[in-house]
Amino acid sequence: MNSATREAYGAALRELGKTNPNVVALDADLAGSTKSAMFGKAYPERFFDMGISEADMIGTAAGLATCGKIPFASSFSVFVTGRAFEQIRNSVCNAGLNVKVVGSHAGPSCGEDGSSHQAVEDIAIMRSLPNMSVVVPADDVEAYAATIALADYNGPAYLRVARLASPTIHKEGHKFVFGKGEVLREGSDVTVVACGMMVPRALDAAEKLAEEGISAEVVNMATIKPIDADLLVECARRTGKIITIEEGSIVGGLGTAVAEVIAERCPVPVRRIGLPDIFGISGPGEALLDYFGLNAAHIIDVAHELLG
C-alpha cells in the first residue's frame, strides 16, 4: 500500500510468472528501476535483459509474441516509447502482436534527472497508433490489477507507471476493468477526469470544493485508449463542465482524448490541466508536481473559473 505503481508492476509481473508460463519479460538495462528485475530474479529463463537497446528489445518482444509468448518490455517511458517508437509502430502495432510496452518514471515526478528523462509525450504518441491501448493506473493496487489484466488482454498495450510512491486509493483486491472509467466520487457541478498520480489530487480537490459548496465528480480514467466515451458523455450531461488533469503534456494526452469525445458527442466546456506544451525541469518529484500546477489547488482554481 502507498507504494509506487512501478513497484506494483514488478510484483504483478512476478505473480504472472508463477501463474502464466507464456509471460516473458524484457528490459533495457533498467530492470532494477522499472522493477522488471523482480520477475527476472524469480524466472531468469524467461527474462531477457537486452542492454541499452530499446529498438532491439521491442523487435525481440515482437518475435517472442509471434510464438505465443506474452512479452512485457519495460524501460523508462521516454526511451521505450520514443527510442523504439517506430519498432512499436511496425513490428508491434502494425503486425498486431501481443506485446506489452511498459514505461516507468513517466512525467515530471521522475524528478531530479530532469527533462531528458521525463516523458511528457508518451501518452500522445502511444495513443496515436492503431491497435495500441493505453493504460495509466492511479495507484499501486490498480497498477497490480492492470498488469494482471493486460496479460489476459490479447493485443498491443502501453502501461505507464511512476517512479514516486503515491497514496493508495483503491481497496486491496480491486478489480481493474479494461476500457472502463471509474466514478470515484459523485458530484453535480463539475467533473474532474484524472489518471495516474493525479487521481488522489483530484479527490483532494473535490473534498476541498465540497467545503465551499461545490459538488465535484471525480473520474479515474485509467484506460485512456480505448476511452470510456459513454461514461464521459454521461458526466457531461450530468455536470456540464469537465476538467482533465494528467502528468504530461496537454497535447495529445488524456485531456485531448476527453475533449475529442466531448466535442463530438456532447459539447460542454472542457479545461485541460497538464504541462502546457513544455518539457520538465530538474527537482524533487513531488515539488515538481506542485511547480507545474499538477495539484488540487490548480484544479480548484480552474473549477472556480469554469463555474464563474
Binding site: V24, E45, R46, F48, M50, G51, S53, A55, D56, M57, I58, G59, T60, A61, A62, G63, L64, A65, T66, C67, G68, K69, P71, E86, Q87, R89, N90, S91, N94, A95, G96
Partner: protein
C-alpha cells in the same frame, strides 16, 4: 539439365515479373537477387506445412528486407500456401498480398516487415521463444546489404551473439546496390564479414545464386553450436533479367507489359 530447385527459381522469377507488371509498382531488383536463397529455404531446408501455416514446431522465415515480398509470395504460392492465381493481386485493394509482407493477411508469412532493420531482432525473439519452449526449429532471416546501415541490425547482432542463438541463421543479400546507388557510395557497409565476426557471429561468404553453396552454408550453420551464423550472399541485383541486372534503376520500378514480356522470354530461355 536443371535441378528441381533451378526450375523452382525459374518459375519464381516468372511469377515475380508477372505480378510486378500487373501491380505497376514494386521492387524487382532485390526480389530477383534473393530468388535462390528463398527457393532453397522453402523447397529444401525449412520444415513447414502449407496445410498448417501456424504449426508451432515449424521453421520460421523473417524477410527483413520486406520489399522483396514478390520473392516470398512466389515461393509461398508454389509451395502450396495459397493459389498461384492470387499472385497477380499483388498491391491491389482486396488482395491478401500487401506491398510488404503482412503476417495476418497472407498464409505462410511468419512476420510483418517492410521497415528496414527490424527483422533480425524479431528472428532473435522467435529463437528465444523456441529456447524457452524447448523446440528445435530454426529461424532464418534475410536482410539486404543496404539494410545493415540501420543501427538496430547491430543491436540485434549483439543480442544474438550474447544469447548464443545458434538457431538463428541470417542471410545478407549482398547485391551491392540500394535506392540511391552503390552501397559504398551511399554509406560504406563493407567489410560485412569482418563486422559480423567482430560481433561474435560465425560467418560464411558464398555465391548467393549457387544452390550447392547455399546448402553447404546452411548445413555449416546448423553444425556450428553456440553462436549465430550469417551467410553473406554475393548476388546480382535483378538477376535473371538482362536489362535489370546490376541496374540500380530497377530497385523500385515495375516493368511495363512489354518489358515484362521480354523478361519472361529471357527467364524461360535459361
Amino acid at each position: 539439365m536443371k535441378s528441381d530447385l533451378a526450375t523452382i527459381a525459374q518459375r519464381m522469377r516468372a511469377h515475380m515479373v508477372t505480378m510486378l507488371a500487373a501491380a505497376g509498382s514494386g521492387h524487382p531488383g532485390g526480389s530477383l537477387s534473393a530468388t535462390e536463397i528463398v527457393a532453397d529455404l522453402y523447397f529444401k531446408h525449412m520444415r513447414i506445412d502449407p496445410n498448417n501455416p501456424q504449426w508451432e514446431d515449424r521453421d520460421r522465415f523473417v524477410l527483413a528486407k520486406g520489399h522483396a515480398a514478390p520473392a516470398l509470395y512466389a515461393a509461398l504460392a508454389l509451395r502450396g500456401f495459397f493459389p498461384e492465381e492470387d499472385l497477380v493481386g499483388l498491391r491491389k485493394i482486396g488482395s491478401h498480398l500487401q506491398g510488404h509482407p503482412c503476417m495476418f493477411a497472407t498464409p505462410g508469412v511468419d512476420m510483418s516487415t517492410g521497415s528496414l532493420g527490424q527483422g533480425l531482432s524479431v528472428a532473435n525473439g522467435m529463437a528465444l521463444a523456441g529456447r524457452v519452449d524447448g523446440r528445435e526449429y530454426y529461424v532464418y532471416c534475410l536482410m539486404g546489404d543496404g539494410e545493415i546501415q540501420e543501427g538496430q541490425v547491430w543491436e540485434a547482432a549483439m543480442s544474438a551473439a550474447h544469447y548464443g542463438l545458434d538457431h538463428v541463421i541470417a542471410f545478407i543479400d549482398h547485391n551491392g546496390l540500394q535506392i540511391d546507388g552503390h552501397n559504398n557510395d551511399v554509406m560504406t557497409v563493407t567489410p560485412i564479414d569482418e563486422k559480423f565476426r567482430a560481433f561474435g557471429w560465425d560467418v560464411v561468404t558464398i555465391d548467393g545464386h549457387d544452390f550447392a553453396q547455399i546448402d553447404a552454408a546452411i548445413e555449416h550453420a546448423k553444425n556450428t553450436p553456440g553462436k549465430p551464423t550469417v551467410i553473406v550472399c554475393e548476388t546480382i541485383k535483378g538477376k535473371g533479367v538482362s536489362f535489370m541486372e546490376n541496374e540500380v534503376d530497377w530497385h523500385g520500378v515495375a516493368p511495363t507489359a512489354e518489358q515484362a514480356e521480354q523478361a519472361l522470354a529471357e527467364i524461360r530461355a535459361r
